[in-house]
Amino acid sequence: MGLKRYFASRGIILFGVLMATLFLTILLVGSNMDAIMKKGVAIQVRSEIVQNKDLVAGFQSTNELDLYITGQIDQRVKNLGLDTPWYSPNRIGLSMYKIMILDFGHATFLTSDSGSTAVGDIILEKLPKTILLFTTATVIISVIGIFVGATSGSKTGSKIDKMTSSFAVISSSFPVWWVGLIMIFTFAFSYNVFPARATPLLAPDDPGYIAALLYHMTLPLITIVLIGFGTWAYLVRNFMIGILQEDYIFAKRAIGLSQRRIVYGSALRNAAPPIVTILALSLSGSLGGAIITEAVFDWPGMGRLYFEAINVMDLPVIIGTTYVLTVFFLVSIFVSDLLYGYLDPRIRTI
């Protein structure tokens, strides 16, 4: 199979997964969604009539008014296509098409900081913050992880190697969000160094907002890095051990190259394909994991948005956020596939 065909088939699969996710999400929340939208229409009609005094005055009795209201509601329900059941292929197709072109509709309860109820606006406002926190964290984690992992992989059995391995095992057993609670307890309650809530109190257009945001970001960032880098170091260590046993490394040793040059020059370069792949995957994986972490720290990103949307059952937001998270996840899987295929020629023969 050629490289192009491999990528094409991966692309098709991932697009299929995206559609399947969308379909499943709509299937799961569809019936609730319909009820909520119908309620919304009724509220809208009533409020319009209340505001329009002339119209109300024109009615003789309350019966007539009620009849008019139900007529209006029915008509709008029909216009929106809500009269056919939510599971009719037409409606599902339409909602999937709408979401695909990023038209998520309006949120039922939540609003963005600027007051917009459009789900797209809300997501656009939260997404950069999630990316800011988790990309920074992943970059720091991978730098520390590669350095520590390469060092301990080249000195197997040494003290630093044993420490890295046991730290990796122990740190991966703790849930990040629990460590987050402990960090809040330690640094916000006991020592008062960092704020307990990671949402800055300043308005987003305040000049000091960026600084405040970065200050509030410190505690979640430290927590994620602390829990994350052990696993990374352990992975890199295991790659290094495998590579350092290869013949060409022995050859380089025989020439008399220094250990440092061998580790950071040749060995690390050969460990690059899996490392880059994992980097791409963990970037997107962190977005999914963001839901709980952001809920703990109250970081104003996608994860907390998702959590809030679930708490109040704001379905358009749930669907929109799931879609965006899925797109990110799939794109990063695709990118990691591309990188792997590019960096490791063996994949083309499979």
């Binding site: 997964v17 095992v169 307990a196 839901i291 679930i310």
Partner: protein, 453 residues
């Protein structure tokens, strides 16, 4: 067949494997003891606030007293009073005496007398306390509602009751300083000369005096509200946290083990079948694998538990759906290697059925790897369940560690410094995870000797 004695021998040699097995054994022991000795009612009542009213609010664990000079009062529930009957010619008196040794440096939080009395007519209820310094303080003196026939009556007397304070202020001559600004509990437990806590034996006596009729307490207890309670303390909802932690152990082990075994076994069979069959079967099965692999697990789990139900068994099923994929991939590639070996060819030429070859010849070869994967998947399942419960999506019929942490989070425990509410559940999650990771790692070394060194 794989040599299981070899695995066992390798496992016994590995130190961390034994540590893991030891921790796991302890956890299993805790689960068994919990199931036997802790009444099953306690877990059913976990989320029912009415059944926890006798316990203190946000009390520290009692062992903190070992580390501080000043002792905090322990919460005491005294339900075995001495009962004395005094039968006169026309007056019938039941007296109950509740004794306590008060040796703490702080005043109690509050106290509460809870009773059910059976009487006829309208008897007089009198509560008084005999202090270590011999002073007898009258607290309550009131008659119970009239009843023309023998009936039961239940009530509670709180320390914040206004009549207690009024009665105490009337006896202010027994104190050498003004007591007007103090609360009832402070007056009762303070030194009459100085105003600090008076240590020693206090006897609270409750008398029920009726005329021409019998009366009795069918139920009564005196609760001295303290600041420390039990091994792990209590939470904001007055629940004894040790009960929740104990019941959480079997629940977590059950979830972890069932999810791990279920997903590893199905992934193993799926992957081996695909690898063994090869060709188009393999191709289409692996595409299905890719699809599930690319689904974002956590958002999906959240949506599923929000829209379907939060039953724990359903959650176990969903966790399995997302758990089998990685194992299927690896076991397929292993099956691809194994099926080229001679003994598989031999079995084929002998005319053995595919299912027999897979289960008799290929899967046993992968068994060490499968055992290691089961052990390694357990912590992931436990933390995922804890995470979902932490978001408030857990099954409310079972107390789990994640739910305790969820309650802690929603009451702001971290920012208010209630560490005993946050630390133990997380430590339990981590400890359980560690046990399985240790076991899994040592099994992995046996299954894959390359990792030794």
């Amino acid at each position: 067949m794989t040599d299981y004695t070899e695995i066992r021998a390798g496992f016994v040699k590995s130190k961390i494997g034994l540590v893991g097995a030891g921790i796991l054994l302890c956890l299993i022991l805790v689960s068994a003891l919990t199931a036997v000795f802790v009444p099953i009612e306690t877990y059913k009542q976990w989320n029912n606030p009415a059944s926890w009213t006798a316990f203190p609010k946000s009390a520290l664990p009692s062992w903190v007293n070992f580390f501080s000079e000043k002792k905090m009062p322990e919460h005491q529930i005294i339900d075995t009073p001495r009962t004395i009957l005094q039968e006169g010619s026309s007056v019938f008196v039941t007296v109950q005496k509740f004794e306590t040794d008060y040796a703490y440096d702080y005043f109690p939080n509050d106290f509460l007398f809870q009773y059910t009395a059976e009487y006829e007519g309208s008897p007089l209820l009198q509560v008084s306390v005999l202090r270590p310094d011999g002073i007898d303080l009258q607290l309550v003196s009131s008659s119970l509602p009239h009843s023309s026939h023998l009936a039961a009556y239940s009530d509670k007397i709180f320390s914040t009751n206004d009549s207690i304070r009024k009665n105490l202020v009337l006896q202010s001559s027994k104190f050498s300083y003004p007591i007007d600004g103090m609360t009832a509990k402070e007056i009762i437990f303070s030194n009459s000369a100085k105003g600090d806590v008076l240590k020693g034996r206090y006897v609270f006596s409750v008398g029920l005096a009726g005329v021409d009729s019998k009366n009795a307490f069918s139920e009564s207890r005196f609760i001295l509200g303290g600041k420390v309670f039990g091994l792990v303390g209590t939470d904001e909802l007055r629940r004894d946290l040790s009960i929740g932690l104990l019941w959480g152990t079997p629940v977590a082990l059950f979830i972890g083990v069932v999810v791990a075994v279920g997903s590893v076994v199905s992934g193993l069979v799926f992957g081996v079948y695909a690898g063994y069959k090869g060709g188009r079967t393999d191709e289409s099965m692996m595409r299905l694998n890719d699809v599930v692999y690319a689904l974002p697990a956590l958002p999906f789990l959240i949506i599923l538990s929000v829209t379907t139900s939060n039953s724990i068994f359903l959650m176990i099923g969903f966790l399995m759906i997302f758990g089998w994929v990685g194992i299927a991939k690896v076991s397929r590639s292993m099956a691809l290697q194994i099926k080229t070996r001679q003994f598989v060819d031999a079995a084929k030429t002998m005319g053995q059925k595919d299912s027999k070859i897979i289960f008799r010849h290929i899967i046993p070869q992968i068994m060490p790897y499968a055992l290691a994967s089961i052990a390694i998947s357990v912590p992931a399942a436990i933390t995922t369940e804890a995470g979902l419960s932490f978001l408030g999506l857990g099954d409310p019929t079972f107390p789990t560690w994640g739910q305790i942490l969820h309650d802690a989070k929603s009451h702001g425990a971290a920012a208010r410094g209630l560490w005993w509410w946050i630390m133990p559940p997380g430590i339990m999650v981590a400890l359980t995870g560690l046990a399985f990771v240790f076991i899994g790692n040592s099994l992995e070394v046996i299954a894959n000797p390359k990792l030794k060194r």
